[in-house]
Every structure is written in C-alpha cells, then in structure tokens.
C-alpha cells in the first residue's frame, strides 16, 4: 500500500505540470476567443442566437468524441495541441453566455445616461457596459475553469499528460489508489482555481462600496499572491519537455501497459532515453505512430486487418500477418519490428464445469445449446466483425446478449448470470475464474498476433531495430496471460507484470 502510494506520488509533479499547463493554456485561449465573441453577440442580435446555439451544441458532444475528432482533423497529431483545442471548445459556452447576459443586463438608465452625455458606442461598451458586466463575465470564466480542470483528465486519451493518467491507468489496472490520487488532485486544482477566480469576482463586485476597507485590501493581496504563484508554477510547466530518443505508446489496457513498460526498459538498457504515452485510444495511437509522434507500441494483426483494412475474410494467421505488414509499409510507412509470439484473441469462454457437463469443447459443439444460453460481451463485442463472423460462420445465436464492463463481465460469468462470454485469450482472469476457451475449428475469428508496430523514423535507427528485434517470439500466450493475471487478478502494480515479462525474455 505505502509502496504503491509512494510510486503514485512520484508521478505527481509530471502529471501536475501537464494538467495545470493544459488547463491554463486552454482557459486563457478560451477567454481570448470567447469574450470578444460574447461582446459581438451582445451587440448584434443576428449573431447572438446562432452563436449561442453553436456553443451549446459543442457542449452536448461527448467529450471523448470531440477529442477523437480533433485528433483526426489534425491528421493524427496527438499530445497537448488536440487536448487544448478540445478544452477551448468546451470552455466557450459559459464564457460566451455569461458575457452576453452580463452586457445585456446592464441597467438601461445607465446606458441611456452614457449616450446622453455624449459617449460613442465604443466608449459606452468599454467604459460602462463591460466594467458593469465584469462580475457576471468572471462568473462565466469561473465555471469554465472548473469544467476545464475536470475535462483535462481526458487529455490522457490523446497522449497529453494530466491527472487523467492516474485515473485511466488506475481503472484499467484496478489500482484504485491511483484513481483516488488522480481524482483528488484534479479536485484540489479545481477548488483552488475556483476560489482564486471567485476572489477576483468578489473584488469586481465590491470594488465600489468596499474599495477603502481593510478587508478588501487583504483579499486583493491574497488573490494577487495566489494568482502570481499559479502563474509562476505554470510558467515552470511550460518549460519545453526534455527531448527523448523514443516515445513508447500504448492503448488503455493492462497488457498494453505491461508490454510498453518492458519495451521501455529494454530500450533504456540499450542506452536510449524514452518516454511513455499510454492509455491512448486505438485509432489515436495508430495515427500518432503513422506520423512519427510515437515510435513503437503493441498492435494486433487482427485490429489492423478488420479496423483499418476493413477485411472480413480470414485467410489464416500467417497470411493475415504478411498482408498487414504490406499494408502498414505501403500506406503508413510503418513496420512490424517483432512479432512477440502471443495472440490476444476474442474467444468464447465458458465455466469449465458447465462446458464439461454439456460436453462442449468447440464452438461447433456449442451450437445446439446456444438458443438456451445467455452470452456476455464487452461494450463493443456484439457490434464487431468478429461476432458477425462467428454468427454467420457457425449460424449461432444466443437467447440473450448482454454487454458489460470487462471486469463486471468476468464477475457475471463467475456468478452464473451469463453462460458464455467473449473473453480475451491472454486475459489472466480466464484462468482465475476457471473458464475454458472454446476452439474455433472454422477460423471464424481473425488472428490477433501481438507485434511491435514501429514508426518509419524509428526504423531508420539500426540500434533501435536490433534491440527490439530480440523480443520476437519471446512472449507466449501463457507468459502474457500470467503477467496480466498478476495485475488484473492479484492487484499487483504494473511494474510486477513488467518484471515477470523481463524474466521470460532472458530465458
């Protein structure tokens, strides 16, 4: 526990830096873009309604979708830029809306007085309406700040470091302490920013009546100190990252964290400096490698085959692998540097006891019983080509098909709520819950060979290529499953999984 905690806290400065820089940058740009838009909308009724509708619609988009869209629009670029763009889009609604409301609600008689004594429209805006609307505008910025701190956790998904690294890694590797540390840290940052901006708002509201009071001056000094230190810290956050030789990427599940850790150690022992970008979406990590932002990550032949090449046929394990290699090289300048040896397949699994009772060993055996059984899959399985292929090849369907979070799916089969699940062959929980994996004699499910996908740039470094080629064929299904099991079932840190893999490599 304490070892885990100190391990988590060691990551704090880096994640803090990333999170604060993302938040402040996005907030600053958000203010610079949104408040003039709000001023414009308040002056021009023809602009107001379309603009407010637009920013409201942006707000209703799921944030993960916006992130993915921004990455796609930037041609697969990951890191801070897409994260900041997405955060700016999300910060717009409260700032624009409050600016419009604040300007519109300035007392009519004051505006008339300003006209009557001869102020120009511009002077009325800058000398009267904006100053009087300031408390409401700041309230909008305050809302935007809290939202931005919260949403910045999602930046992890596009490869920008934030407190989200704690949360996503923690959720995937069942490290609740990491999730807690990440959530608390984000909450603290939100509270601090909220109270600082709240203080500014208080100053703006009370500047008339209270300008001379000691309390007003004290609050002013406190807020100045607070803001200066936040800006100071973020200035430090903006220092350019040290340049590393290679960036190791990974998607957001246990096996990916473990393999990335092992790859990173191997590279470091060869004398390279490295850095990690983990927990990325499948599409994001692929694009980033194609454009050389990421140098190496664990990919699966079947993923490329069905998701990128849109193939539904299954010519066999070797044929798929070689066609995938040809596709990667031709279309994206990427390469398969080392086929690791294991396959992480979707496979149907049942409780051993039930399978033996019914005499089921393969999916063909399952067919006569299927319409009386309940099946469970992860959130995407029943929409994926693998299931379509299984269904059509074996002409099989279940009485009920339920979708679960992966962890809950294993609990559901253990507790006999479902009879069949779509498990992963390298998942440690298959062994833990005493499940049997049903054979696929008709090869309905395409092969999912784990391999190191490498960017075109990295392939030019001979030492890098030599170092990682040595991993080829070294990680069997069983080794991978045991390493996953350490983390997923026994709740050990990812580093223990990495150590287990490294031992297998040296054998």
């Amino acid at each position: 526990m304490t070892e885990n905690l100190s391990e988590q806290l060691a990551l704090l400065p880096e994640y803090f830096r990333g999170h604060l820089a993302l938040t402040l940058f996005a907030l600053f740009i958000g203010i610079v873009i949104s408040s003039p838009l709000g001023v414009w909308a308040a002056q021009a009724p023809r602009v107001k309604r379309p603009l407010l509708t637009l920013v409201s619609i942006i707000q209703t988009f799921p944030s993960v979708a916006i992130l993915a869209l921004v990455v796609a629009m930037l041609g697969g670029r990951i890191g801070s830029l897409p994260a900041i763009i997405a955060l700016v889009l999300y910060s717009m609604l409260p700032i624009v809306r409050n600016t419009v409301t604040g300007l519109e609600n300035v007392a009519e008689e004051v505006v008339t007085a300003a006209r009557g004594i001869g102020m120009s429209p511009r002077q009325i805006l800058t000398k009267v309406r904006i100053p009087l609307a300031l408390p409401v505008i700041i309230a909008g910025i305050r809302t935007a700040a809290v939202w931005t701190v919260g949403l910045a956790t999602l930046s992890t998904l596009v490869g920008a470091n934030s407190f989200g690294n704690y949360i996503f890694t923690g959720l995937q590797t069942r490290n609740l302490l990491a999730v807690t540390v990440g959530s608390l840290a984000a909450a603290c940052m939100a509270v601090i920013l909220d109270s600082l901006i709240g203080g500014l708002q208080w100053l703006a509201v009370n500047r008339n009546a209270g300008a001379q009071t000691a309390r007003y001056r004290a609050v002013k000094v406190l807020i100045m100190i607070g803001l200066t230190s936040v800006l100071g810290v973020s200035g430090y956050s903006l220092l350019p990252d040290r340049k590393v030789d290679f960036v190791v990427g990974g998607k957001g599940f246990t096996e990916q964290y473990i393999v990335a850790g092992a790859v990173e150690e191997v590279l470091q022992e060869a004398g390279f400096t490295t850095e990690q970008r983990l927990g990325l979406g499948s599409e994001v990590v692929f694009q980033a490698t194609a454009n050389n932002t990421i140098d190496v990550y664990l990919e699966y032949s079947g993923t490329v085959w069905s998701n990128l090449m849109n193939r539904e046929d299954n010519p066999g394990r070797e044929a798929v692998m070689s066609e995938v290699e040809a596709y990667l090289a031709a279309e994206h300048g990427m390469a398969n540097l080392a086929r690791l040896g294991f396959q992480n397949l979707y496979a149907l699994a049942m409780r051993r006891e039930q399978a033996e009772r019914l005499g089921i060993r393969s999916i063909s055996d399952l067919k006569p019983f299927a319409d009386g059984l309940v099946a469970g899959g992860d959130l995407e399985f029943f929409g994926r080509p693998e299931w379509i292929s299984l269904r059509d090849t074996y002409r099989i369907d279940f009485a009920e098909k339920l979708t679960f979070d992966t962890t809950l799916m294993y609990t559901a089969i253990a507790e006999e709520q479902v009879d069949v699940i779509a498990a992963y062959t390298t998942d440690g929980r298959v062994a833990e819950f005493d499940l049997v994996i049903l054979e696929d004699p008709l090869n309905a499910i395409p092969p999912y060979d784990g391999f190191l996908a490498v960017s075109g740039d990295a392939m030019n470094n001979r030492l890098f290529v030599e170092t990682l080629s040595s991993l080829a064929g070294k990680i069997s299904d069983e080794v991978m499953r045991n390493a996953n099991r350490l983390v997923d079932v026994e709740n050990r840190p990812v580093t223990d999984g990495v150590r287990y893999i490294r031992e297998a490599l040296t054998e």
Binding site: E109, A113, G116, I117, G118, Q123, V128, N208
Partner: protein, 263 residues
Amino acid sequence: MIELQNVRKSYDGGKTFAVSDVSFRVKRGELLGLIGESGCGKTSTLKMINRLEEPSSGEILVNGENVRQQNAEQLRRNIGYVFQGIGLFPHYTVAENVCTVPELLAWPPSAVLERCRVVLDLVGLAPAQFADRFPSQLSGGQQQRVGVARALAAQPELVLMDEPFGALDPITRADLQEEFKSIQRQLELTVIMVTHDMTEALLMGDRIAVMKQGKLLQIGSPTELLDAPSDPYVRKLIEMPKRRADRLDQILDADSHRVKQHD
C-alpha cells in the same frame, strides 16, 4: 438659443404621433418648464434636442445651427443633461462621474480636476468629503446633486433636465429646486426642464410650455398662463397649485381658530 420648428415624432411610421407639430423658442438664460401628464410627448421633445431621438419631421436649431447637421456625440457633450432616475455610473466615484464629459472632451487633466472641485462646491458637496465616494454610498439627494454637477462640468450653455427631482422626497426636492434655480441664474444657463409637477414648473420656470397628447397647448410666463389660459386643461393644470394653497390656508385658519378657542 433654441428653436423648434414644426417638430413631429412618430414611433409607428406615421400612424400616430407622440409629438405633433411642436414649435417654440427658448431665449438665452431662460428656464422653460415643459409640463404635461405622462405620455404627452414632453420627454420625446427633450430627447430630440440632443438627438437621443431623431424627429420624424421638422427642424431643431441650437444657437442657430440645425442639430441634425452636427455630430450627435459632439452635440451631446456640449449640452448638459440631468436624467430621470439620476443615471450615475455606479462603478465610477463621484469625481469620476463628474469628470466624464470634460474627459470625453479631452480637457487637460489639471483643468478637469479643478473643474470637478468647482462644480462639486457649486452643488453643495464638499469635494474633500465626497469626491472619492461611490454613488451607492450617497443619499438620493446627494446623488442628484452629483447628477447636476456632471451636467454642468463641461460648462455648457444649455442644460436639458428630464424630471430631475421627481424621485426625491419633498424636503430634499424643495432644497434642490431652490439651489438649482439660483445656480441657473448665476451661470445664466439656458434650461429646458421636463416635469409633471406644476408647482415645480411655476417655482422654477421663467416660462412654461404645456403639452397634451403630443401637442403644445400653450407657452407663456406663469402670469400669462394664469390670466389667459388657452384651454380648459391648461386652466385646470395652472390653477391646481393655487387651489391647493388656498385649501391649505383654510385648513390652517380653521385650525388656529380652534386652538384660540381652547386657550
């Protein structure tokens, strides 16, 4: 000084007229009370003089120049304006409020400061005590004194007032009416003051213009209006203060008799 020629104002494209065919002149140094019930067009008439509203037809001349040929903002800066409901800037101090117009006119800072002190003294607010306060820290009467000071700050010859003392309590109102009248005499200001209070118009106005339903019924000195009202409405309006004063006298008289009997 000011001349209105056949001024009309319609807010509905000519179907009805809020101000219809109004013509009058105001001489330099004169205070004209513009009186009528609400909706009679008196405020619209006032606002057309400094182009807060534009007439639908007719001409308005200030110092012989057509206001429509002048830049509206420049025109307004040279005409003092005291607003109904005061209209001070809540985020400005008293001094900042008062200095607004001289600053818009780009006076040198030292002249602005000096002028601020002078006009605050003029309206009876000690600069040392009041200059740095905010409007929310002042009483209603003090706020309207600031309003008057702001209107006078840029040394205008012409001041427009839109029911300036309407929101004040009777005692404060009476004080301010008297003080403003003496300031107006002292500075020889030309003033058009909109009011719905005939007593105020009689006490302050050199001449009184009575409006009803957008039309100017009669314009003249208080005596002229009393002696020869052109219309039953004018008669009723002008006799009201006198009738009330007489009634008051009777009550007080009866009261004093009763007191004597008790002695």
